[in-house]
Symmetry: D2
Subunit: 298 residues, 4 copies
């Protein structure tokens, strides 16, 4: 639909004078129009104020001869990235880039609950989530028909405590075979080992959450016993500290004393689904920068 | 304004056949019209299914001769209560009653922050909270002018670790002197001892809350460090387990990475104010039944 | 799963003394336990105060001999209904009843957008919506594969201005053939004629809504032009006054100036989906009573 | 508290290449650090894509000799503004600037309802609204004690249909006498004439709003008659098209069939209060740019 091809840069640097001017000036001099820019300075960061910026630039300008000249002969993406790296080094910045014509490849890990699987696939099919879904991986065969109905390859990798290590190796092999950039735990009822998290690309998880917080098994039953009036969910990047990774998105829904534990599970599932979809969308649009235990959603 | 005088009964009983019919029949036979009735059966209660009912009846019917006859000669409130007690005993029910022409007397305990104090007094003055506010008690003199501007007696009772016990005795004495029915901790920055909670009437507290939960000092700074996207508040009855009493009301507000800890405190204060007001209103309207660690808000 | 069979009565009557007692007494005398009861008196109704009640009773009591005796020989559902009708006539009440072992039959009318179709079918499959879906009817063939993937019969009835009358006759014929109790317009992009609304069973529609309200074509573009900060949706019963039927449920989502008309459409679609699901659920649980242009959701 | 003095620029221009770079470059060359920057391009604007930017710069850099040199001899605010005007002319941009050490002066227009008056004054006193409140103007004497309790001058200017023109002249005279920059209609129950709107500074109004929309008298009664499930409020700039000015902020609250018209009024008042406070805060922080009938809240 949209013939404009864009590059989205995410930049993080120690705060210093002139950052907005220098970063936007970089693209201005190359003749690349900035379509969207947002930045934020976190003055409360532990290691001193830190600057974050998201820039969306129109790559159309690369077609002009001056771009090639200024980039040292070749107006390609590699040359653009090499030139930006020099600029970033001067600022002590870390950065990454994504291109609108290169769709990220997202794998879904599921078990038996189809809610998040349907939701994410339907949002991808409607164009809301701009990505490919090359594979659905499960520790159970239950959702194969759902994946099949959307013609997405389905890989069943059952797991027992004894085979966990081997199963995770197979999971990683599948992720590599399908060139996966992002793993979404769409109610995958297994804890990922540190080894898997080291070997896998970025992982997003969805976690129920309550005020006050309940830990351990059957959290919805605990929440019912305490009579909470709100049920929540938190989408976060998976790190080795279980459920402690940087938060991307959160939301809640209202419940009442009339609802039993099963109702709370149902309402909670709806919140989890919406929160997960919003977090995945923000990630795919390259709006999320992680800094320590926090995220900036620009 | 409203010439109708009502009695609001709250009833809690082991679930059994015919409860709605028998409780509503009690008033029907006396010629008292039921203006509002709601009930709930908690099938998940630990000691077996438990029934809860709130009945609002028009006391106008007590003026008819038949009421006096059926109540044994006197159609007064005492006789009505005695008769209802017999009915309740047959059902194994516990109950309480309040009358619309007897306003509960609410004391506010404050320290330095005027937000909740202003909010609760203004809601009472506008008729939203049907109660009297006979006294504001504080461990600090800062808010005396605010209480004065509304012509509410203000008692300053400073406290140090050494004088805490004696100060709490004075607090209890003030509560008794003013015939207080309900104590609201409107950002009172002191922990109440078990002794005070035993001697005081019902106490409602407001507590900040987060997903995930943060404990200890400076919770807003912890929440900022973790990058939460929601800030919450919980209003609950105070019990000796600090911040673990039955929850009356909860809500949240959305925050972003752009907000520093001070912004989170400001947003949190707004949520706390609204949640506390809603909880106090529900209590004053006799909508809240406590059962173990839960509340039913009928 | 649940072996208890229940009947849910909805009653509407002019307000009068003893209604709760007499209605609950009716079931008490038959030995039928009331599992859930809620009522409301609308003192602002045009024709004087009006009383509404929802009663869920356990039909298990019909197995006792006394029930048959009191119902005049036969403890069946017909006898129960005849007996309740006598009670209702004394009170001037209108009423209806539904049984938990008789699932309502819901037809979905769709066009091309699969969002609401998927959402409602998945909620039905997960047990959240207790109904059967005997048929999906569309004026377009696009969604046939979706209906097929759930093995639901799909009927395509294309329509032009010239054939509208005939097409609607076919729609009504399909509704009758499948014994449909409830029609849900799941983004069916056709206006129903008064004739169809007269012949069809209850119809629920979902309608976008904004503050301030925009009428006519392209409402999302109008809302964008005005710069609204909220987008809403309203689920209502369809009546001959287009989009003016009694409201069952409403909700909103927050939008910003950064969103173009397409984003508003996407956000709006999500709100519409959730609001429609909640309205259908309330209707199926027999919680909705219509009184004039209003609904009570008990 | 905060020793940093900042200038906040709001810029609006036809979209063109290099806008972010050129605007941020302007301050970079003067040695002024950009503390916060956000921008947005509205590609749907009627007259072609339009660019909006908010820049907060640290004026500390004006103390360096180079700033004076580059600004033509004087590193004062007038010289800075003159220099920026040249830059803006090249871009065809319109712009405005505010300084953190010059507090805007906000007048409150009220009638009898104290809710918004208390709310806005308390937020100003707590530091949430950074402004001065030099005067409260009313067409009624009722709220004089409230203004007095905060030591804010109160001017009562009663009005009848005959004296409306003269009263508005007096209102304008008071606004001028107190050098007012912003007028907030805090439930001022008078319609402002076009003349007043032309002569007064910026005016913010709060308006109730519903889904679907109700016009004319007694909107809460109409909303009750229709059985709405949500009540809303819209804060907007006042223009001569009554209640049709650019929207700054909106929100809603949930209501139920149990609430009578008076309850709806009470809930609506709470929503209005919060929405108005948020809109005033956004305006005072110079986050709002008006473009035609829309606002961008950057």
């Amino acid at each position: 639909m949209d013939p404009i091809i864009t590059a989205t840069f995410l930049v993080s640097a120690p705060d210093q004078r002139g950052l907005v001017a220098r970063l936007s000036g970089f693209f201005y001099e190359l003749g690349l129009n900035i379509l969207d820019a947002s930045n934020h300075t976190d003055v409360h960061a532990e290691a001193g104020p830190r600057f974050f910026m998201r820039l969306v630039v129109d790559l159309g300008g690369l077609a002009a001869p001056e771009a090639a000249r200024k980039l040292g002969g070749s107006a390609g993406r590699k040359a653009l990235e090499a030139s930006f790296e020099l600029c970033a080094q001067l600022l002590g910045a870390s950065w990454s880039v994504g291109y609108s014509d290169v769709l990220p490849r997202m794998a879904l890990l599921v078990t038996k609950d189809p809610t998040c699987l349907y939701d994410l696939v339907l949002r991808q099919r409607s164009g809301e989530l701009r990505c490919e879904i090359p594979v659905v991986i499960s520790n159970h065969a239950a959702l194969e028909p759902v994946a099949e109905s959307f013609r997405i390859p389905f890989v069943a990798l059952p797991v027992t405590p004894e085979t966990k290590r081997e199963q995770e190796r197979q999971v990683v092999a599948e992720l590599r075979r399908h060139h996966v950039d992002l793993v979404v735990l769409a109610r995958y009822m297994q804890i990922l080992s540190d080894e898997l998290l080291r070997e896998a690309p970025t992982v997003i998880n969805i976690h129920h959450g309550f005020l006050p917080a309940f830990q351990g098994a059957k959290p919805y039953h605990q929440a019912h016993a305490r009579g909470v009036k709100l049920i929540g969910a938190t989408a976060h990047y998976a790190t080795k500290d279980l459920d402690q990774g940087p938060i991307i998105e959160q939301d809640v829904a209202r419940v009442s004393h009339e609802m039993g534990p099963d109702d709370l599970v149902r309402v909670g599932r709806d919140v989890e689904r919406v929160v997960l979809a919003r977090a995945v969308r923000a990630h795919l649009e390259r709006r999320v920068i992680v800094e320590g235990r926090r995220t900036m959603v620009l």
